[in-house]
């Protein structure tokens, strides 16, 4: 949406904070899709994958799509906060593609939503994420399984909501402890997933940081407010919910959403 505005935001955006730690790239082959995923991985300074210290995991969607450099921003914010002693160190994994437009295949829920969650699009990508990628990352890295977070902007934010709403109280520990849903749309399907969650579960034990950009217009404000009102009305005891309305546009929402969201999700330095 509004690619021109996003590109303008790119042109005017400041450089992300410098990354610390070690950055690497590798491919991840899923049994469920044909094209491999390109993982962009940041581990903290002094990181020992076999050490006793466990780190939060931040999974970043759309790492490089449309030049918005979401992975670089998130890595920079985590690095900066940790270096300043204002936030914990974290492992950051950007789930990218050789062709970043493949996100369209993965992030959007099927229309209409499939109550069995056996469809394609977000249904399939959720299975890739929770049944293949997260277990492999968990095996290979020193990740705290109770602190795994998903960050998405725009359609990535739609998937973040979707992933958060997939969990039911009978499914054990949620695969994610929290999400940042940055300036995404709110199609009717998201309300359906929210209703399904409320029908099968009395709690929603995770943290949600949701933002919208004012300049996207009043249409997004209507559905954003409707979703937040509906969720708050459920009174899920385990839910931590924070929202922010940003005085900016779609591209401009990336940085402040992740800055506020990482602070909300990761908290203070240990």
């Amino acid at each position: 949406m509004a690619l021109a505005g996003s590109m303008l935001a790119v042109a005017c955006a400041p450089e992300p904070p410098a990354a610390t730690g070690v950055l690497s790239e590798e491919y991840f082959v899923s049994a469920r899709v044909d094209e491999p995923y390109l993982l962009r991985i940041r581990v903290p300074p002094g990181y020992d994958p076999s050490g006793a210290r466990r780190y939060p995991l931040v999974v970043q969607l759309d790492p490089t799509f449309a030049g918005l450099e979401q992975y670089a921003i998130t890595v920079g914010l985590v690095s900066e906060a940790a270096a300043a002693g204002e936030g914990p160190e974290a492992i950051v994994v950007g789930v990218d593609y050789d062709d970043p437009t493949l996100r369209e295949r993965d992030y959007l829920p099927p229309e209409p939503p499939d109550p069995t969650f056996d469809g394609e699009g977000a249904d399939r990508f959720y299975r890739v994420l929770t049944e293949e990628l997260l277990p492999e990352l968990q095996d290979r890295h020193a990740i705290d399984p109770q602190r795994r977070y998903l960050l998405g902007h725009s359609n990535g934010g739609i998937f973040a909501w979707y992933a958060a709403l997939r969990h039911g109280s009978d499914a054990g520990a949620p695969p994610l402890a929290g999400i940042v849903a940055a300036d995404n749309g709110y199609p009717e399907a998201l309300f359906t997933y929210e209703r399904w969650h409320a029908e099968r579960s009395e709690d929603w034990p995770l943290a949600v940081y949701a933002t919208r950009a004012t300049y996207n217009g009043a249409g997004q404000a209507v559905v954003f407010d409707a979703m937040i009102d509906r969720i708050e009305g459920r009174r899920f005891p385990g839910l931590r919910l924070e929202t922010e309305v940003l005085e900016t546009d779609h591209g401009g929402a990336v940085w402040p959403s992740y800055e506020g969201g990482l602070r909300f999700l990761l908290g203070e330095a240990p």
């Binding site: 309300f191 300049y215 009043a218 209507v222 546009d249 401009g252």
Partner: protein, 224 residues
Amino acid sequence: MMPVIGWFAVLLVAPAPAPAPAPAPAPAPAPHVAEDGRRSGRTHLQLDASVLWGVGGQMFLGTQVRGVAVLEHWATARALGTWDLGGAFAYQNEPTFLAPWIDTTQVEGATHRTQLVAHVGHTVHMGPRRRSALGLHVLGGWNAWRSHYRVHYSLEDVRGEATSTRHAAVLGGELRFTQRLHRRVGLNVVAGGMVPTQSSYLISLAHVGLGLSFYARPRSWGRR
């Protein structure tokens, strides 16, 4: 010797001497720059009405009305230069049918942008009769942004309506080509954009337009 009566007869039938011809009325001054390429010393008024297409938060359609006083400044054998001072009013509308990601069965409304700006620029009038003009103008003024939408998700019983407004100063530029077709009417093509002092969603990014230009010379403005 001719009888007296004869003289009278001659006087009566002789044609009267022709009156001195009245001076021909001076042709009305042209409402545009002179076709002979010389400075006329007059101030002209140009009114442009154009339809616009452009990009702000999404694609928009719009209209622009611009009026400028055209002040001649220099002339060469090939062109005449003018300073143009005036203002413009523009209205831009971002409809849902130009946003394919919006389901128009669920969302109604539009984003509106209104701009009132001053124009200052320079135009070069070219061609054998100085009918082709290319001008570059700086514009600046006020921009109002208003977003109003209604949403209805029938399956999930989500219904609502909201309005957002913002005001911002704008600064930009326009390139305008005008081809005069008639003493008082021409065609114009315009391309412009805003300096990104604010989000393009608020103030727009760029536009192109096509329209008519009208030429006039207010009586009271005479010679400079």
